[in-house]
Amino acid sequence: MRQHQVIIIGGGLAGMRAAQKAQEMGADVAMISKIYPTRSHSAAAQGGVQAAVSEGDSWEAHAYDTVKGSDYLGDQDAIEILCSEAPGDIYALERMGVIFNRNDDGTIDARAFGGTSVNRTCFVADQTGQVLLHVMWEQLLKSGLTTYSEWFVTKLLVEDNKIAGCIALEIPTGKVEVFRAKSIILATGGIGQVYNPTTNGLVVTADGQALAYQAGATLMDMEAVQHHPTTMKANGVLITEGARGEGAFLLNSNGERFMDKYAPNMKELASRDVVSRAETMEIREGRGIDGCVLLDLRHLGRDLIMTKLAQIYELARDYANTNILEAPVPIQPGHHYIMGGIKTDVDGRTWDATGQGRWQGVEGLFAAGECANVSVHGGNRLGGNSLLDTIVFGKRSGAGATEYANANDWAPISEEAELADQEGSIQGIFGRPADGLRSSTLRFEMGNAMNDGIAVFRTEEGMTAALNSVRDIKERYPNVSVHNKGRVFNTDLLSVLELGYMLDVAEVIAVSAINRKESRGAHAREDYPDRNDEEYLKHTIVHRGGDGDPVLDYLPVTMTKWEPQVRSY
């Protein structure tokens, strides 16, 4: 058995930032990640990170944009923390080595992004996430953090509703071990592969959300799933909002800049839910091209494109066979992000530390980053706010988990029983006939069902069909088998475990979505087209019932200074 005071599951930006903070505070920390940390999906973030560092900007303006962007579902106390701590954290990252693009006076430059009133998105060309991720990783090399890379967490161990540790499988050897911890932070990222297609990587499989849910924590606002307006048709790969931030146009098949109609002021830079819906309307009404509209960057000129959007130039060349200097690139809305996640307070705690028991959680279990829901994004996330979320709340959860570990004892663990149990379930999967059902078959079925039913526009009928498919797939899941029955780097086995995680989470998304009978942020219902503050200005929360079915409830939204208003761009 291995033992660390604080264990962080996830080596993306949120996990590394949490580890750094916990280490700084003197905790014995270890980080577990199923892929080498620099491979984490945070690397894919292109556009930038928001912080009010420019002259004439203020964190209050950032907070207001975020509240409005969230369609008033974000908790305003959390949003105030996010935005007021943003500049300090961005400066800290700069001092660690992030090379941010600069203004003439040497200060950090900021670009325009959707839904923001001023240029507020700090960036490194169009590789912001990668640079941030690598710099955080460098810092952890410097401090010598204990890292278990290519270890896959299969279960959280909970004793008497307190976290005791987790079980993980070492991928290169197939060995299973018990890890004991006083506190655990989940920082496992998004749910991308629940949808097909998605901008997210192949390893983004909802592990943390499912681990927490299975351990007794609460998932909140899981219906808030974001589709990004500009993804490529061939494989769902993203074209950053930075492209529109730099001035790219959206055109329909008649060559019209259709955003004039839908968002006369902000046009292409309206918030993501608004732009994705506009594109879908154009395509539905016959002004699309093969299910796409066009993103036109030609007028930006070679210089700007090659210095600030070079990665986009390459992606469009490789995956859409388009030279963006000469031709517009076909794009469509595609799954991108989940605003919902593991319910936490502003210090990353998954349980209600006030003792009021307003929601179910696990003591000592924390969460941060995309897998968590603090909630700062509410019904719709603004571009550039997610990287910021990982940085600010990664740090805060690192601090929270260290304080908790210092104040609490180790919970008991029965190592042998746990190992035997885990080994038993692996052998159970190996024991199924090798020519049985493939996990990939079910994964595609689920991904397509979710994309058909719970995407840009939603209806009762479509969502119910998605839920029924997911439940049907869940029933067949125990028959999924593997070709590979060895232990060394058995990704076939991991795919089965990941599918199990995703099915639980897909079910919660569907149940949550069906029960929100209004339109808010990314949750746009054709059968309930308006926002209904009277009945639904509240968070959807779900925990796992005794029979394994999701149990639904609601929590009030925290308001500080901003009253809900009509949202127009």
């Binding site: 620099t38 001092r95 690598h134 710099v135 390893v203 210095t307 593997v482 070709h483 060895g486 060394v488």
Partner: protein, 313 residues
Amino acid sequence: MDVTLKVKRYDPETDESAHFEEYQVDLPEYGAVLDGLLSIRDEQDGSLSMRCSCRSAICGSCAMKINGKSRLACKTMVSQLKELEGDVISVEPMGNQPVIKDLVVNMDMFWDKVNAVQPYLQPEGPVPDKEYLVSNDSMMELAVAMNCIMCGACVSDCTVLEVDKGFLGPAALAKAFRFAGDPRDGHKQGRLQLYTEPNGVWDCTRCFMCVSACPKDVAPMERIMDVRAMAMDAGLTNTRGARHVDAFASSVKHSGRLNELGLAMKTFGLFRAGIELAPMGIRRLLKRRLPPLMHKKIATAKNIGRLFDKLGV
């Protein structure tokens, strides 16, 4: 689009040695080699292992040898390969690193080498309240090296690493450039000293393999030359690494071939050579590869000497 993938397979639990297996896959027009491998894994043979995640050339997971060259599977388009290199595509694990299973290699050595260049900013002096004020140009010059996604393709193809596992290699040295060139760093001199030790920038033979392998245009060899130039500017000409190159050049100039023994002596000094190189000497002896004690000139040595004079070396 139908394509045949010839994939090198090896499972340490069941196989004595690696072997190729052929798979037919049907891919969409813009399919990458990775899509082919995924379709094999999903539909035909789930026991195939590889690393992959982002599908967009940013996570650095999927470097492997495709038709003999190290490339990213997710960035290598099948249609282009078919057009330029033929209908059958071979896929093998990266070189210069031990194979764990199928297309997965053990990258410990890669990470150790990156770690050896002190890959983190070490500022000195007063810490600003906000950001360090530096020019956009100075930052964007570093962006070339920050483009590195740590995929290992360059290391896989590096010709020096093939014969000398001690060489820090292209990726680590590109990372070294990123820090030596950062105006915010306070240890430039110490860094340059470190990078010009033997196994550092002077060991690169400028074979260009890393430049053509790199999927992110980091051009590691050029970054290595940048560090050499910085070191020369900083007056670091009398380091063991630089002397190694001087000796290398003079050996080639005089005899047209490398006098490995003389090289060692010039680099390390006559007395230390014997001590420091003993283990390597013994290893070579065991393999019967000790350099000849009498160094013979090759026929065209004179011409090579002239070439060097002409180049002013």
